[in-house]
Amino acid sequence: MTNLLASPPFAPRDEAGFLNGMEEICRWHLAGCPEYRRVWPDWSGATRLADLPFLHVGVFKRQLWKTAVPGITHQRTLRSSSTTQSSASMIALDERSSALQGQSSAAILKEIVGDAMRPLVILDSAQSLRQRGEISARITAAMSLRFLASEIHFVLDDVEAEADWDHLLPVLARHQRLLVYGFTWILWRAWATGQIPEKVRQALVQTEVHFVHSGGWKKLESARVDRKRFDAALLATVGPTSRVTDYYGLVEQVGVIFPLCEAGYYHVPRWAGVLVRDPWTLEPPADQPGLLQFMNLLSWGAPYHSVLTEDLGRLVPGDCACKRCGQRFELLGRVPKAETRGCANV
């Protein structure tokens, strides 16, 4: 694992070595997590990634999974930012995995945004950091950029509130480059369509801003905001060399992020893998869309190393125009929800 993390995230890799690594981590969790062992009682080995055990993403919303093995110290529980529609995922974080996950996100983010230190502006509330025993996925995503931060500024008191633009003004006076992170819908609400005071607006157009966002587009679909409109609205507020970077990631696989490249594909770092499964047969279909399953070699404290999602996607063969190596995929949205008909209890 150390070897994999030592190389650039999107360099070529030894596929057999990755499969072996995944087998090793599966055996680790089978030995240390009785619930996981009950789900996969007969698994003995794999000759392909599709034969590896996995857990459905929804199981993390219903119970806390832990692998109890000597050397693993569990810390806080990571919680997804639950919406009104669903409950939150709960991921037991541990020291060993957290160290690897930190290295992973740092390596990938450095590849995306460069390694220059600059102020990090987080469109979120600092209050989320102060909950004992738990940490929200939004804050975890934001704080994964802190290694690039010369200083950190939270500019929302509440995710539904207006940004504290006055707080930003002195920062803009001192710096010509900024890193701004927000969940996609928060960035849209608070920045792209926010009421930016004229003084701040004048300072922003002279600042190079690299916006980084994640969290998905679900909330913006109803507002019919697509990527082109989103990027244009953000870039219209800032200096000419500014950029916007979107990445995909799972709360259930913290530390592994899949940046969207300029050619329009999400790229998989060499310590992770992606599979597509047919929802009805679970077999991997050839060049067809299906449920995305993500794997990584970083997750040792609980069996979230191989997770079948409810996101639909397609693997894209061949080399990418962006020159990154390894797997890449297209994201096609969420599994469509059909109407459930029933009686009073629906």
Partner: protein, 393 residues
């Protein structure tokens, strides 16, 4: 159409009912609709739902409310009624989002009371009631039924905050409310006429009781079909199957048989989000100690285990347990609606003794679990669409 007095009789009592239509004509018109319905399935309905509606519109079935409430029709002679039944007046029907066929079926039966109807349908879903009434109006021959549906049935879509809820409650002589228990209570708590009555169809669940010697592939296929129509979303769908006086091995054998027979009983694939949920439910059930399998093509999750394990809650999750008769009764949910049975001798008097100890509202063969009628949720609600005048000569 002017009001017409119809007579009905049991061996011990004669009842008169004043109806604003001719019963035979109304029966004829509803049954005539079947001939058109069998030619194609309406786009808002599943094939199963449409087939059930067609079967429901059978003339003999439509006579049942009168037979079960008043007796057989009497034509000719000099009947001496002991009671006169008179339509109560406006019936308000509240339907939640995504309600099943219960909406159109209630409306259909209510049409035989002759009362005007005001139906509130869900505000955010496809609705079967309005779809069926629109279809009927377009397809029925000119006559009193089409006129009734057009002029006396008002269907509106609005949410629970809408002021029309208050207006409906204030004007209705009968409130029929489908919904969660809090929603039902909220409607009945609205100001309403002092002599009006409230009929509640709240949260319920159902299960199946089977004896292993009574099970055949055919009865298991029936069980699968009954479950698969609405899965756990149906208040009359079995959420768990209890093998009475069975062993753990019996429950496991039944679970394996259900999985084996599933694709023969249900040929269509479930939607993608159901397959995904079934995978999740399978893994959770296994983690919790159930013996569980997916039906082929992830069409359902069937789990066998002991009473006391956390019950799977997925839409297409069915659990199988073994239990003694006393355990079966003791572990019934308090809101049990229907117990579907597959028994060696369902006529054995011990079943009556047993059901008497439960809060169950129905004890019917598994294949009849979804069958809706004038008696529902513990009472003959249809009879309450009429007020009764005592007659003595």
């Amino acid at each position: 159409m002017s009001d017409k007095i119809h007579f009905f009789a049991t061996p011990h009592r004669c009842t008169a009912a004043i109806l604003p239509f001719d019963l035979e004509e109304r029966l004829k018109h509803w049954t005539s609709l079947r001939l058109k319905m069998v030619k194609h399935v309406h786009e808002n309905f599943t094939r199963d739902e449409w087939a059930y509606l067609v079967a429901f519109l059978d003339g003999a079935n439509l006579r049942k409310p009168f037979q079960e409430s008043f007796g057989e029709s009497v034509n000719g002679g000099q009947p001496q009624p002991a009671a006169l039944l008179r339509p109560r007046g406006l019936i308000g029907i509240w339907l939640p989002n995504n309600v099943s066929l219960l909406g159109p079926l209630t409306l259909l039966l209510a049409s035989f009371s002759g009362n005007p109807l005001w139906v509130k349908v869900g505000s955010s879903s496809g609705d079967l009631t309005a779809a069926f009434v629109d279809y009927a109006i377009q397809s029925l021959p000119v006559g009193t039924l089409a006129g009734y549906l057009r002029q006396r049935v008002r269907i509106e879509r609005f949410d629970r905050q809408d002021l029309r809820n208050r207006q409906m409650a204030a004007e209705a002589n009968v409130r029929v409310v489908f919904g969660s228990d809090p929603a039902v209570s909220a409607i009945h708590a609205l100001p309403h006429p002092p002599n009006s009555i409230g009929i509640s169809f709240g949260n319920h669940r159902s299960e199946a009781w089977v004896e292993k010697e009574a099970l055949t592939d055919e009865s298991l296929a029936n069980l699968i079909r009954v479950f698969a129509i609405y899965g756990q979303a149906g208040c009359t769908s079995p959420r768990r199957v209890v093998v009475l006086d069975g062993s753990d091995e019996d429950a496991l054998a039944l679970q394996k048989s259900l999985v084996r027979l599933w694709p023969k009983a249900v040929r269509a694939d479930v939607p993608m989000h159901n397959t995904s949920q079934n995978i999740m439910e399978l893994q959770l059930a296994l983690a919790q100690g159930w013996h569980a399998n997916s039906a082929p093509r992830n069409g359902a999750m069937v789990a066998a285990g002991r009473i006391g394990l956390p019950e799977p809650t997925g839409l297409m999750s069915l659990s199988v347990v073994s239990a003694s008769l006393n355990e079966a009764v003791a572990t019934l949910p308090t809101n049990i609606q229907t117990i579907g049975h597959c028994l060696h001798n369902p006529h054995d008097p011990r079943w009556l003794d047993l059901i008497a100890r439960t809060p169950a509202k129905r004890f019917v063969p598994i294949e009849a679990m979804h069958h809706f009628g004038p008696v529902w949720d513990g009472g003959n609600y249809w009879r309450q669409f009429f007020e009764e005048v005592e007659l003595q000569s």
